[in-house]
Subunit: 420 residues, 2 copies
Amino acid sequence: MNLKKEIIEIARQAKIASRALCSLKSKAKNAALKQMAKNLIKSKSFILKANEKDLRKAKKSGLKVSFVDRLKLNEKRIIDMADSVASVARLEDPVGIMERLTKRPNGLLIGKVRVPIGVICVIYESRPNVTADCIGLCLKSGNSVILRGGSEAMNSNIAIFDVLNRAAAKMNLPKNAINMVKTPDRKAVDALLGAEGLIDVIIPRGGESLIREVTRKSRIPVIKHYKGVCHVYVDEDADLNMAESIAFNAKVQRPGVCNAMETLLVHRDVAVRFLPSLAKKLIDAGVQLRGCALTKRILRNRTIKKAKESDWPKEYLELILSVKVVNNLKEAIDHISKYGTSHSDAIVTENHERAMEFLEKVDSSSVYVNASTRFTDGYEFGKGAEIGISTDKLHARGPMGLEELTTYKYVIFGNGQIRK
Amino acid sequence: MNLKKEIIEIARQAKIASRALCSLKSKAKNAALKQMAKNLIKSKSFILKANEKDLRKAKKSGLKVSFVDRLKLNEKRIIDMADSVASVARLEDPVGIMERLTKRPNGLLIGKVRVPIGVICVIYESRPNVTADCIGLCLKSGNSVILRGGSEAMNSNIAIFDVLNRAAAKMNLPKNAINMVKTPDRKAVDALLGAEGLIDVIIPRGGESLIREVTRKSRIPVIKHYKGVCHVYVDEDADLNMAESIAFNAKVQRPGVCNAMETLLVHRDVAVRFLPSLAKKLIDAGVQLRGCALTKRILRNRTIKKAKESDWPKEYLELILSVKVVNNLKEAIDHISKYGTSHSDAIVTENHERAMEFLEKVDSSSVYVNASTRFTDGYEFGKGAEIGISTDKLHARGPMGLEELTTYKYVIFGNGQIRK
């Protein structure tokens, strides 16, 4: 009960801070961001020491190597973190931009203006640089932020937060503009999810189970993606060299991320020419293939497993790939509709009409023609950084940057108009 | 259990229809809308007969006169309904509009394109014209729609739906593009709220208790407003004639709606000059005033009640007005932050700086300078019609028209780009 009260008090103070933040000048926000970047560099050894504690604990409890790697900080990673915060200072401030101003017949001027959302709560796992990224993006977009990192990175997160918070105080940011819940008690998360009316949006980042739990329990709107089952479709009129390069990149360049390809779809007219060479490359790179019956027949390779029905909706996040030969574009689109997760899907084709049909009918947040799905990322989209990726339908889709951390309001200028 | 299955099947069919609707040409949608308008006119007597049944039932069960009035249809109201549907045909189609196209250093072209949301479910009470409005707006914005009207208007709603559905079939709209749940069983609502993954958004329209129930139970995102506690603040530099005209209009012109004023805030330096004349007019118009201590002292009118703490957050929806004298702009903004509902709030002032401060700091969906709050309405904002008003923070705020019934996706044009 005490913890719940404590969390509600944090949220209440964050709400008060958000009222001051919404009218803070870009100049003040940018100065604070630059100071934060500076402090990160100055406090490298302080942060690394805290990170050491988390690493020791992680190794003791036998966590996976890939997990420990994501947790690990070093000089270079701290410099990158500082660069990232400093780069947010250089991005355009979305707050106050008037997107539209219309004049009504009665003389009313109705403007649609970008405003901060209010209080953003980010619940995340492992990578400590998320702490700095979220603080930077929320501050620049005029929102106050409440962070709740995973217990496995608690020491690192607290160290980074404290460094940034000292910069915030030095630059006279509104008190409680940035906040961190520093207890590993999981009841803290429940309390955050119940702070309706104080917290405006919850952004969970982490594994699917975390995100499902947050979504199920929250009374506050959640922006999220569960997983990314991304497809590349190689059309009958594809440039097959390009298709090979894209498919290889989408699977192999970084298989553990949500925008990596999990299923390759190939038009049957090019399957015999296309699949053998790509399959060899993939297998050489350590990829395990799971193919449909036709794929297996074409490749005649014993190491290729038969894809089961349960493989099509799978997000492998490792060097495994489902492969299916389809009869036409419609079958490819239907497959993506059925098994995809509205994340990122690509077509490789030189045929304009089918390219446009794919763009129109595939209902994903990011739909590609002739490029790798790996580009779905705030930085790659020109947003500077991202606070997450959304596969929801409302508010924000795809990579979310500063603009997606704002909403709008209508401002109406009159000179005495009354309703008749 | 059978009912639940039935509802899920409706949602599933609506989802399939939405895939065809999203690429339907504007011309086809407009032709269908015009046919719908025509059919409404042709079927006037059919609709009126059904409405008669609802009216008889309503009178028998002793429903309020204002309620019966909203339920009642006549020739004029059906013609208005048809006009409204026809007017949606003339609005710009938001689907396919590319809001932004950026070129990245690697040559990728990244476009942000408006697309339909998918399947919209509207749960509403009483007024039967909502049936036609929602169908028109959802169709034009490329969404399929599932309607669930109140049992009190069931016969009228079904009649209107059937008329429009015949037009849809005649014009070869995708099957199940428009849908109505025709049972009064309240379990149908629960089934709709659980159709996650099939229905993309729920829009409840009606009394606060309906909206609270829907929000509490739904696993699908809900866009809503609970209530409108709207304020008019009369600044010390207000044109007092204008202020009187705006305050009178905002309270009296149509007190039963969400954008009517419920609380008047007056700067103490003008209260003595401003309040007596306005109070007289309001009282003559049948308004009951509830004032703060200072208001009562200024007005010296025994009919004026003392405003209690519980009056400030009240949405009267009738001829009652809370009145408070404040010391300055900050106090007015703080009052609105504390008791307002983020709907519509206005300042009356000739002082530019305070006008801008009010616009910036009042966190409502629609913030006015020198105009009546009564203008918060899709038609008045130039949206042609509205599917509802949102006081939420995400996706849509204020009056929601065609654009707010769409979302966006990113379309990325490459020529072989891979991630390095």
